[in-house]
């Protein structure tokens, strides 16, 4: 197969502690190898004056599945004058805030991403998620089934039946070809099926009479009992409301005392996602303010937590989440079209368009909070960059977010452009923060860190020989950094090269090969569990609207699987 030598690039690899040194990276048969292994016919790639990193890993985005698609088709205006074809081996692309699957794959690849995690998969709709994953070109993908409002889980964890819950989770991961345990608004989304909600970790779920705190700790225990590659991945209660940072701290504190138990090098027991939406102070929109510092003070102290930011990009976008009651609330605030789907026994989803206008004080403060979280982070290996696409903004804005993180000047320009600049500055700390994220830290926050959190650090997120050859080469020279921050945004908008599994898929921002994307999923073996088998049979017979035999996703939907086997039978 193909051999390449990427010569003279500045390598940024937190896995090996390489902070910009000039180093050659060798690729053979889809893997990174020692340069000595290559033959003389290896193709030379000139990376002089360029930076080389592993392919980036998107740890949380809504890119494939029923609510994403509902967002697409119920917003034809998102594609008006926007649908187009770009040069290269491409199909028609479209969608400013909710890209079509073709645009999704190409856009991630053009920015140097090689992996994306679909943030929330309703198990009943798993087949749909996998159909979209299959049609998304180039990038590897996985999906997290949601468990935080699942009837089986609510009943098992009420009685603290961890072994049963674990058997059920394992069964679901296998049926849905899922990657791990996602929790969204625990208990609150089941309450939403009656139009109610759980706004604190102690609000009991109607009828099931279990609290979100019990759900979260029970699922942490389940996750570590099984030894899954990723930890629980949580969108906590009370998202988006002024003052919610207290609920966030209550949620994060539930991880105290738990230790990660797995064979994948994962150290965290909880990944809190899109933390920006959960770091609000004040008690109304008038005194709304940032609590990013308070939240990060806590996160920095704990070493068993990872987070991702959920940066607001100041665009018109579309919010979509399994936090059904939140979307109903948002639709009531901005009076834009609200879509909702409650899913039997499992979860719900809501979709509402939203415009983050720089003229609105609250939106500007949200923008600041997302950046503050990253700028306060002490360990870039535990703080990852996302936009909770498309909720806080489209993922295609990553280059802009990187610009803001790397350039104080760019942040100041934006702050001055806010209509209510003074009020924004008063309610946040952003104006005083002079930290500028370095390329090395960026590599940790977008590559090595997410890989470790996902339990993929053996093969992904770094440039160590033996790892998968997913490599991004950027036209940025650490010895001659651009003085104009706009250049940073341009540079990260289009890679010089993207290698995926050792094949060049993008060259100078143009797609030249669609690669062989794979679907990652986790296959857990547990001891035979008659109780769970009985419960599954009974619930399908009585409460589900489809038959048990029609629930699983057949192998044909993941024709190129990357299966991570976990043995939880001891």
């Amino acid at each position: 197969m193909s051999e390449f030598i990427i010569k003279n690039g500045h390598v940024f690899d937190p896995v090996q502690g390489i902070k910009g040194d000039k180093k050659d990276i060798a690729v053979k048969d889809g893997k990174i190898v020692e340069t000595s292994v290559l033959s003389s016919s290896a193709k030379q790639i000139d990376a002089k004056g360029k930076s080389v990193m592993a392919g980036a890993m998107e740890i949380h985005a809504h890119v494939a599945g029923p609510k994403v698609n509902l967002g697409r088709w119920y917003r034809p205006e998102d594609k008006l004058f926007d649908s187009h074809k770009t040069p290269g081996m491409t199909r028609i692309e479209g969608g400013k805030s909710i890209p079509t699957v073709f645009k999704t794959g190409y856009s991630y690849a053009r920015m140097g991403y090689t992996f994306a995690m679909e943030a929330a998969m309703p198990p009943l709709y798993a087949r749909h998620v996998h159909e979209e994953i299959h049609d998304t070109p180039i990038i590897d993908e996985a999906a997290l089934p949601v468990f935080g409002n699942n009837w089986f889980m609510l009943e098992y964890l009420k009685n603290h039946e961890i072994e049963n819950n674990a058997a059920y989770v394992a069964w679901t991961l296998n049926q849905t070809k899922g990657y791990g345990i996602k929790i969204v608004n625990p208990g609150g989304t089941e309450a939403w099926a009656w139009g109610l909600n759980c706004l604190s970790v102690n609000d009991p779920v109607p009828y099931f009479d279990i609290t979100p705190a019990e759900i979260i700790t029970g699922l942490i225990e389940t996750n570590e009992y099984l030894g899954l590659p990723h930890s629980i991945h949580i969108h906590g209660n009370n998202l988006g409301n002024p003052g919610c940072y207290e609920t966030t701290l209550d949620t994060l504190k539930l991880a105290e005392g738990f230790k990660a138990k797995n064979n994948f090098g994962r150290k965290q027991v909880m990944h809190q996602t899109h933390l920006q939406f959960h770091s609000y102070g004040g008690d109304n929109w008038g005194n709304f303010e940032s609590k990013a510092k308070e939240v990060m003070d806590y996160v920095n102290k704990q070493d068993n937590l990872t987070i991702d930011t959920g940066n607001v990009t100041l665009d018109e976008t579309t919010t979509m989440t399994a936090d059904g009651p939140f979307e109903h609330h948002l639709g009531g605030l901005n009076h834009l079209k609200w879509a909702n789907v409650d899913v039997e026994l499992e979860t719900a989803a809501g979709v509402v368009p939203y415009i983050y206008s720089p003229d609105i004080k609250v939106c500007a403060i949200q923008w600041a909070i997302g950046l503050e979280l990253a700028l306060y982070a002490k360990d870039p290996m535990r703080c990852f960059i996302t936009t909770d696409h498309p909720n806080a903004g489209p993922f295609t804005r990553y280059p802009r977010v990187i610009k803001w993180l790397m350039s104080r000047k760019a942040r100041d320009t934006q702050i001055k452009a806010f209509k209510n600049s003074d009020k924004v500055v008063a309610a946040t700390n952003i104006a005083e923060m002079d930290r500028e994220i370095t390329l090395y830290e960026l590599a940790a926050m977008t590559r090595a860190g997410p890989a470790a959190s996902l339990g993929l650090s053996k093969d992904y997120g770094g440039l160590k020989p033996g790892m998968n050859a997913d490599i991004a080469v950027f036209n940025i020279n650490p010895d001659n950094m651009p003085s104009d921050p706009e250049e940073i945004e341009k540079i990260f908008s289009g890679v010089a090269y993207l290698f995926k599994d050792g094949k060049i898929c993008v060259k100078d921002g143009v797609v030249v090969d669609n690669g062989n994307k794979r679907t990652f999923w986790v296959d857990v073996k547990v001891k035979e569990n008659k109780q769970v088998a009985h419960d599954v049979k009974e619930k399908f017979l009585k409460y589900y609207s489809i038959n048990e035999r029609n629930y699983p996703v057949p192998d044909s939907y993941a024709p190129h699987p990357y299966v991570i086997a976990v043995d939880a039978t001891q």
């Binding site: 187009h84 028609i92 479209g94 009828y207 409650d342 039997e344 038959n547 029609n550």
Partner: protein
């Protein structure tokens, strides 16, 4: 020994029952019996081995008769038609698998087609309404487990979705609905007393074409505002009473069909029904679900949406962009205005369902119809290509009316030598590539 294939998904209507049991001859060639299906679904399976089944493509001759041709000849003719035509209508898709649709879209993107599905003459109005105001909805299992107020508005499941009421909406005993239909209040709004109205607790007769006004009255009543004495033939007292009864429930749902989609205002009727549903969420839990007709029209909408961003009427004719405007890129409009040069029908019968002006327009253009049956469309086409029946002789993914994806199974073999949609479209795609490269 005959064998029983169980957990079979029925490929007929949007109810997409997946509990059928089909007994098949042991050589896998003949369906012997079907259990659990309604009469319509059973017929779908039973008619596969009726005599007179067409198993090879046929080409219209100058004298109007049809002559059998080979699949390769049909594929070549079709590919040439697609490559030559400036703008081709590629319509149907509602009765085939998602996997087949995907191949079809690749072809459309290459040759400049407009991909449209049966929503264009059915629940397209509902899709337009959802695009304007969103939709609070749920899966059918939620209705089964929670609903205590069920409204059928302008639809007649007793005829069109026969097992809907017993599987989901009226009779089942669910987790929170152990009393079954005794614990539910059922309302039926229609301009005539249907068989569904017979099963309802209350029938509201609305003057035909006045559903928008009546729903406006429901919304106005829900806000406690004054109303005129009657609206659409319904006295205002009844409107206030029903709104109060609905508010007294815990979980309400509206099922609707052609009574809203095809009467004056079309999408506006559904729009206001959705707005009413949204208003009611201030008092209780309320959802609304469209009674999709074909078993996979929803699937076509899903595949078109994730690939191009629009659920039907997707104009790919510029080949570099996807455009959508119902009223312009929809099949009937394209045909009546003569805005397409050729037609490709698959898995549907526009000859039977489209307004006659558009059928006449289609008959004057080069037309290929892909369908297991001889139907009205095949008889005005230049070529009829029969294929294996999806959901019976070949499997593939389908989407139920509430967008839940369920796999259909292969239950029997297709007659010897017949192609499936996926195989046929793949071959057409390859031939199109050859022809375009030669150009």
């Amino acid at each position: 020994m005959p064998k029983v294939v169980s957990d079979v998904t029925c490929p007929f209507c949007g109810t997409l029952c997946d509990d059928l049991e089909v007994t098949v001859s042991d050589d896998n060639k003949k369906i012997l019996s079907v259990r659990n299906a309604c009469a319509i679904g059973a017929e779908k399976f039973n008619h596969t081995s009726l005599p007179g089944r067409v198993t090879r493509p046929r080409m219209r001759q100058p004298d109007g008769t049809f002559k059998e041709i080979t699949y390769d000849e049909a594929i070549d003719w079709t590919a040439n038609m697609l490559v030559k035509s400036k703008k081709t209508l590629m319509y149907g898709w509602a009765s085939t698998s998602c996997q087949a649709m995907s191949v079809g879209h690749e072809i459309a993107e290459k040759v400049g087609g407009v991909v449209d599905n049966c929503a264009t003459v059915c629940h397209g109005s509902s899709l337009i309404a959802i695009q304007d105001v969103g939709i609070p909805s749920c899966t059918l299992g939620e209705v089964k487990n929670r609903a205590d107020r069920v409204v059928f508005w302008g639809c007649n499941p007793a005829h069109a979705h026969p097992r809907h009421m017993s599987r989901y909406s009226i009779f089942p005993r669910g987790f929170f609905t152990v009393k079954g239909h005794k614990g539910r209040k059922i309302y039926c709004v229609d301009c005539r007393y249907t068989d569904t109205a017979r099963v309802a607790d209350e029938f509201i007769q609305v003057q035909q074409g006045h559903d928008y006004e009546l729903l406006n009255a429901f919304r106005t009543a829900a806000r406690g505002e004054p109303l005129p004495d009657t609206i659409g033939g319904v006295p205002k007292e009844k409107v206030y009473k029903i709104v109060e009864e609905l508010k007294g429930g815990r979980f309400g749902v509206i099922f609707f069909g052609m009574g809203l989609t095809h009467t004056l205002g079309r999408n506006h009727n559904i729009d206001i029904a959705i707005s009413f549903t949204r208003d009611m969420n201030d008092y209780m839990k309320f959802s609304i679900i469209a009674m999709r007709g074909h078993w996979n029209v929803t699937g076509s909408g899903q595949v078109l949406s994730w690939q191009y961003g629009f659920p039907y009427a997707v104009d790919l004719s510029r080949r570099s962009k996807a455009r959508y405007q119902t009223g312009e890129t929809t099949s009937v409009d394209l045909l009546v205005r003569n805005e397409v040069e050729a037609c490709f029908n698959i898995a549907t019968d526009p000859g039977a369902h489209f307004p006659i002006d558009s059928v006449i327009s289609m008959s004057k253009k080069p037309t290929v119809t892909v369908d297991p049956h001889i139907n009205m469309s095949t008889e005005i086409s230049d070529i009829h290509i029969p294929v294996a029946m999806v959901g019976v002789e070949t499997g593939g993914c389908a989407y139920r009316m509430d967008n839940v994806p369920i796999e259909t199974r292969k239950v029997v073999d297709a007659p010897d030598g017949m192609l499936t949609d996926v195989e046929l479209l793949t071959k057409i795609n390859a031939r199109v590539d050859q022809l375009m490269e030669a150009k």
